[in-house]
Symmetry: C2
Subunit: 114 residues, 2 copies
DNA sequence: TGAAAATATAAGTATATGCTTATATGATAA
DNA sequence: TTATCATATAAGCATATACTTATATTTTCA
């Protein structure tokens, strides 16, 4: 009656990526939409290279996808990935990060592209 | 509408513990019952000190609890812990480890105490 | 074309992690 | 009490991780 999709090894690798406060916050931020790197930098209050390196790990594992729009690169959850169900479960059980994006928007720092 | 119980920091710390193949297997093994250390050693095919060290991490974080019975120490899921819901969700999404315990039982290596 | 902005990558470093071997503790049985 | 079994702990070591600073790449705009 099990409907396990991913193997234990891949689950462990995915959970290791989630087991970091910065990356977990990043995933919480893109839970309902996309963000660009400078927004992560602003919200997380950490250096741009450090943020980029975390994003690369998430992207290499397929957990997020990137899309360039102009000079910005936007990251979003890769809902098509096989690990997405487990990630969704986890994200639904931790505090939402939406209010941080709201604060960004109120400060006029949210990036909007057309 | 969020019913998040644990904070992001604690979630990250818990997920880091789950992000290891050995520990994830251990949790899978105690998903439906308790096991003693020698059973973990047998199933995982790794050294006893290494297993003990993983168990200590899980116990220190409160994810599992231990109970001594005779010369054996049995470990089981700490269902009362605040991180239990998230752990349960994860365990329900990875392959079960029950068949390994079944193999142990058939080999007459399962520990039974009264 | 050239400068500036956004992002990525590389290299270096300090700390964390997971194993090993050796030893300690605690319970049982002779 | 002494030996043995099950488990825990300590110390040492190799690798992984997450940051820093410096530099490269790509896009936009003047």
């Amino acid at each position: 009656m099990e409907k396990t999709i991913i193997g234990l090894e891949q689950a462990a690798q995915t959970l290791k990526l989630l087991g970091d406060k910065t990356r977990l916050t990043i995933l919480g931020l893109v839970k309902n939409g996309e963000c660009c790197v400078c927004e992560f930098v602003e919200v997380l209050q950490m250096s741009q290279p450090s943020v980029s390196q975390h994003l690369r790990k998430l992207r290499d594992a397929g957990l997020v996808k990137e899309q360039r729009r102009g000079q910005w690169i936007f990251y979003s959850l890769n809902t098509a990935h096989e690990t997405y169900p487990i990630i969704r479960q986890v994200l639904d059980q931790i505090p939402g990060q939406q209010e941080k994006l709201k604060a960004l928007a109120e400060a006029g720092l949210r990036i909007q592209c057309d």
